[in-house]
Symmetry: C2
Subunit: 384 residues, 2 copies
């Protein structure tokens, strides 16, 4: 047997989500029955602090060889990493993805992929020109739950006519400078939360053609002007409608136990498939068919297991002992793709990422939600 | 104690819904703790058959004194009835309501109230001019469940920011001449099913100002052109959004047991209130608060009770033995109003009925769903 393909990761930005991703990367792929690839963390950089990069690597128990870098530029121009995981604020994704691509690195970049579709389009062209792998970190698209949805569950309900998806967090009391509310960081519900709702809607109905935005409603923050609650009605044509919603006022899961019902619903001619909160990381699903069938399904991300003393999680959430967060699935896809010479992810290609951003653009334009020119621009690099 | 006020009902049209309403009327109001009014059925007419009117009265066990009439005109010009219950196809409501009002009768008319808002507006003016009571049979607005919603449940969730309501029946195989699909009968999902979804949405968010239709999507029937699936996004302003949906492709309740979640959701700052299918007659509700509270609530319509051998129900549905259908609540409101000299129902006034129809108009216009001129016209009476 040949040795597994090793994908060498560099981290551009070292915040909470980077920590969760890094911890997931360090779980042996064999725990999820993956034996032909492996992940190695070889470096990390923050925007301006070598010591914070070093602390990050220490904190996640990165291997000895992993290097902290003083700047993003140093990281991406180092020969060590093969791929860069970008988790800076989405206001900066265009600049950072370009930085990586220009340096010849493959890229996995967090959602929202860019601030607008024009930036995404330019990056797609650049990645193709350079022959580099580029993928939006739409991690839910690589969950076993999602594989089950595509291959087993959704086919059972027949033609899908409606998809409703909501990610609302029931929390608004952020400081105006917080990334959720700050236009300088491309803040607002749509690009932070709405991209999840849109992703589920697209999973159910997108067949390569951009849906029409049949309507949208947006409540803007009174001082910062970003969206605090957004509702989008999409028409995918031929009697296929979808609602993608997000916001900070209401909650997709008020009691945290799913008592208020599903956060995502796929409705077909023979029944529904439901996903339960969190929309950003569902582990529980239900199939309800018109023949009376009701089936519950649970997916727990694997990891070192109980008794391992190992924990992961994002934000305030900590998963049960020994349970991975589930980000390794998208990481595995990066490894498979780069090993095999593919330039896009199989769970969500760049055309879909682009069409999703076009929906966001259209909604923002309609309601005058615009970020500063430095965030929206195609200019690269930015003048200081 | 004075004797109860007696409201004398005439039936204009004698179909399935008239039968259910009539049976409900004949249940003693005391079964629902109502003692100050009573209902009497004094007459009925079909469009053209004295014998069918007679059969109807016999079938519902109407009192001996109840008279069949050969025509609607004969019914409404008879001195016997005080109020006419209209349950003809909604294509004909404008003509039939005018017929009643011109004859000096109070009116309770089924949903959709009229084919369009202009007709509704004309009828409101006429009813006011004549000093007559006029009410849309939005029966859900008079349920004890709805009283509980307004007074007890919704106040607990605080400011309401979102309401979603769906009434979809998962059945499309109607004949093209069936009222669901026939434009001559103002067919289609919107006016038959969507008015329920809109009514719940309005219950949660309407404060007297017409909401903006932020968008809509409609799938039209390939041959008859009526809507078979409709999705409406409403913006009530100040961060209050709603989705009202209806259709024949999907189902609000695929397994008939509510396993696919609620059909109506009110979302507030402190949690949600959910109603379970059927949207047209919910008996089950749930409150889910952000403090972890989860409360189930059930409302069974009263009636003669178990062991009575008495049944009621609409369409294919039969309620459990002894259980009323719940239409008597709206009938009681008619009696209270007319007794007290009120000209509108308290659960949903005519301004709200009109604004709801304006939403329907706007959606139909946007998607070119138009009924024949005879259905849309303000002309009265129609030339043969």
């Amino acid at each position: 047997m040949s040795s597994p393909y090793e994908l060498k990761w560099g981290f551009l930005a070292c915040g909470g989500i980077a920590e969760t991703f890094a911890k997931d990367l360090l779980i042996p792929p064999s725990t999820r029955d993956v034996t032909t690839i492996k992940h190695t963390i070889v470096g990390a950089a923050t925007s301006n602090s070598l010591s914070r990069a070093a602390s990050f690597l220490k904190n996640i128990n990165a291997p000895e060889e992993a290097q902290p870098y003083a700047t993003y530029h140093d990281l991406v121009t180092s020969p060590s990493p093969t791929i860069i995981y970008i988790s800076s604020p989405h206001s900066h994704h265009y600049q950072h993805i370009r930085l990586c691509l220009e340096a010849g690195k493959h890229v996995l970049c967090e959602k929202a992929f860019t601030a607008n579709a024009a930036q995404c389009s330019a990056l797609i062209a650049l990645a193709r020109e350079k022959g580099l792998f580029l993928m939006e970190a739409q991690w839910t698209r690589y969950f076993p739950l999602t594989e089950w949805l595509r291959k087993a569950a959704l086919p059972r309900i027949g033609r899908i006519s409606r998809v409703n998806a909501d990610l609302s967090i029931g929390k608004m009391d952020f400081d105006a400078t917080h990334r959720m509310l700050n236009p300088d960081l491309a803040g607002g519900g749509l690009l932070d939360l709405g991209v999840y709702s849109l992703s589920w809607v697209f999973l159910g109905l997108y067949k390569g053609a951009r849906p029409a935005v049949a309507g949208s409603a947006v409540e803007k923050h009174p001082t910062t002007g970003v969206d605090v609650m957004t509702s989008i009605l999409l028409d995918f044509g031929e009697g296929r409608h979808a609602f993608a919603t997000c916001g900070m006022r209401t909650s997709s899961d008020p009691d945290g136990k799913g008592s208020a019902g599903p956060c995502v619903t796929f409705q077909g001619e023979r029944g529904d498939v439901l996903l339960f909160s969190p929309t950003s990381r569902p582990t529980r699903a239900r199939v309800v068919l018109t023949d009376g069938t009701v089936e519950e399904k649970e997916f727990r991300p694997p990891g070192p297991g109980e008794g391992s003393g190992w924990y992961n999680g994002f934000g305030g959430e900590v998963n049960p002992e020994g349970e991975g967060h589930g980000m390794f699935y998208e990481a595995d896809e990066c490894a498979f793709a780069i090993r095999d010479g593919r330039l896009e992810g199989r769970g969500m290609g760049l055309a879909e990422t682009l069409d999703l951003l076009r929906v966001c653009d259209e909604v923002r334009e309609k309601h005058g939600v615009r970020f500063p020119e430095r965030v929206e621009t195609l200019e690269y690099p930015l003048k200081e």
